[in-house]
Amino acid sequence: MSVWIDEKLCNGCRRCLKACPYNAVEVEEGKARILERCTSCGACLAECPQSAIFTDIEPRSIPDFSDRKGVWVFAEQEEGRLMPVSLELLGKASELAAELDEDVSALLLGSRVSGLAPTLLEYGADRVYLAEHRALKVYRTLAYTRVVSELIEELRPGIVLMGATTVGRDLAPRVSRRVGAGLTADCTGLAIDPEERILLQTRPAFGGNVMATIANRYSRPQMATVRPGVMEPRRRQGGKGRVIRRKVSLLEKEIGVKLLERVKEKRKGEALSRARVVVAGGRGVGDRTGFRALERLAAVLGGEVAGTRVAVEEGWIPQDRQVGQTGLTVRPELYVACGISGAIQHRAGMMGSRYVIVVNRDPRAPIFQVADWGIVGDLRDVVPEMTKRLKRVLGR
């Protein structure tokens, strides 16, 4: 089983190189060459204008899934409160369902949580499947897996979405394996392919250096977890829909895990992830006192201070204020990036901001690529100037 190129036909146009999701094509001296790491996925075949690429792979047949309908959202709640990502997912699900001409269902599991169902209807669910049981009071993998998997197997949805939270990332892979479905983690983009009518799932890979679009052609439901803070919740007027109660029978001994206690620790970064304005600093801030100026600007704007991994590693700001791939994802109305070069890992955590202001001495810093407004200059001059002027304008 392999893919090969006929050198005589190849004109070195590099289209196959661009099409290859695995970087397994190389062009040398005007001829393309397939490398060892080729997985025989066949993505290059259709791209070649010379028809110079050949394969002996038999095309895999796609099963008929025309009976799989509906977009489902796992409505995650904790201690009777809905996680914001659940409403964000309903917003996206409504959009996808409209394109497919299907409807949206929310799965609500817990103990005495029926009061949350109207909110789900208001935010886009046409139907809420409600499963209440004492054993579902706190999230436990096997209890939740069983209820969700049984619903999927009985009602056969086409798409199932969950938040990429500690619960969603524990539950989704377990359910996917049980129901025999492919799963894509931590998506930042979801869309319906207009021709194939399948879900296109886009996510960052390699620490956010590359975006990859993934399809799930060979199994149903198409499952994905989605990063919190990426999709928009949409409230609708007079949300109508039905709440359908599901009977649940669960035995403690089949759950395998017993909760002894739950210890609350102050939620790190909560104020930051909800902030309307974030003023963030990076290496260019220089030292801890440099962050004072950022704090003053944040105070005037009624915002929060954050930083890059470098700022955290240097000890200029605490770890729970780190924005980026390994820190928090924020999506304020206004993000002010000061002395931040804009490594892709940092950008991953702030790309969802409504407007971005960049202050940096280096006009070639990649952060300018994501700026709405940029000021090239020394932040030691620019930031105090901003503080002064905004204070005057805002009368603070």
């Binding site: 096997l142 390699f206 250096n209 590359v210 993934i214 060979y218």
Partner: protein
């Protein structure tokens, strides 16, 4: 207690760069390392062995050179290593990978605990742990950062959650995914590392046939999800540079903020 630790060799993504011209990932010349979270899982396994006895087996799937991370694990104190390598494993998604690893765990057999890292830095999916646990039909606990006592056929662990942490009692055998918060991994011992790289090292290499799997069950063919496109991250913002002295630029900026009712 017999422990199997799942480890993965990954490119060191802190070194990853993009080709500015093509936007493609430059993979050549990048070192491969043991996935950072897996190192914490291995350390946790070694500590359990030291306090309660038993054996630690490390299991990895990857190209032939992934044997390096197995040698390193033996150098840190693991007793035995198994490498799953086969051209047919290439391009596997988490469905095919968890199937293959699950088969290998069954073939190794006789385990009380399976440990793996929270997630791998090249894929960041965090799916393999739960999917292997489901394949084997055993309980799982993800985000484990503390292990307390082992009592009979159960164990108490601490699991990190958004609001703090949970203390859970889990029946064994079970699978845990371990976070970096759990411990500080040891360095390999030079003597053991050298022995682990030698011909007599206790490392076995299995291919698809050894696991009783057909090529249709593994790698790209055995996968349910497929990458159909990769591209560099892009921005769609205006990117207006405000010129002039700091005072002038800031004045313009304040004007823009007012226009959009941001202040």
């Amino acid at each position: 207690m017999n422990i199997i630790v799942l480890i993965k060799q990954v490119p060191d993504t802190t070194e990853v760069k993009l080709d500015p011209r093509t936007g493609n990932l430059i993979r050549e010349g990048i070192d491969s390392v043991m996935n950072p979270d897996d190192r914490h899982a291995l350390e946790a396994g070694l500590r359990l062995k030291e306090s309660g006895g038993g054996k630690v087996t490390v299991l990895s799937m990857g190209p032939p050179q992934a044997i390096d991370v197995i040698s390193e694990a033996l150098g840190m104190g693991a007793d035995r290593g198994v490498l799953l390598t086969d051209r047919a494993f290439a391009g596997a998604d988490t469905w095919a990978t968890s199937h293959t690893l699950g088969k290998a765990v069954e073939k190794i057999g006789d385990y009380d605990l399976i440990l793996c890292g929270r997630q791998a830095i090249d894929g960041d999916t965090a799916q393999i742990g739960p999917q292997v646990a489901e394949y084997l039909g055993i309980p799982q606990v993800t985000y484990v950062f503390g292990m307390e006592e082992v009592k009979g056929r159960s164990m108490t662990v601490r699991r990190r959650i958004e609001a703090g942490y949970e203390r859970l009692r889990v029946s064994l055998p079970a699978l845990f995914t371990v976070t970096a918060e759990a411990n500080s991994p040891r360095d390999p011992v030079i003597g053991s590392l050298l022995a682990a790289c030698g011909a007599k090292a206790p490392i076995q290499v299995w291919d698809a046939a050894d696991l009783g799997m057909t090529t249709a069950q593994v790698g790209l063919e055995g996968s349910l999800t497929h990458v159909i496109r990769t591209f560099p991250p892009k921005s769609q913002r205006a990117g207006e540079i405000l010129e002039g002295s700091p005072a002038q630029a800031v004045e313009d900026l304040v004007g823009r903020l007012k226009e959009r009712n941001l202040i």
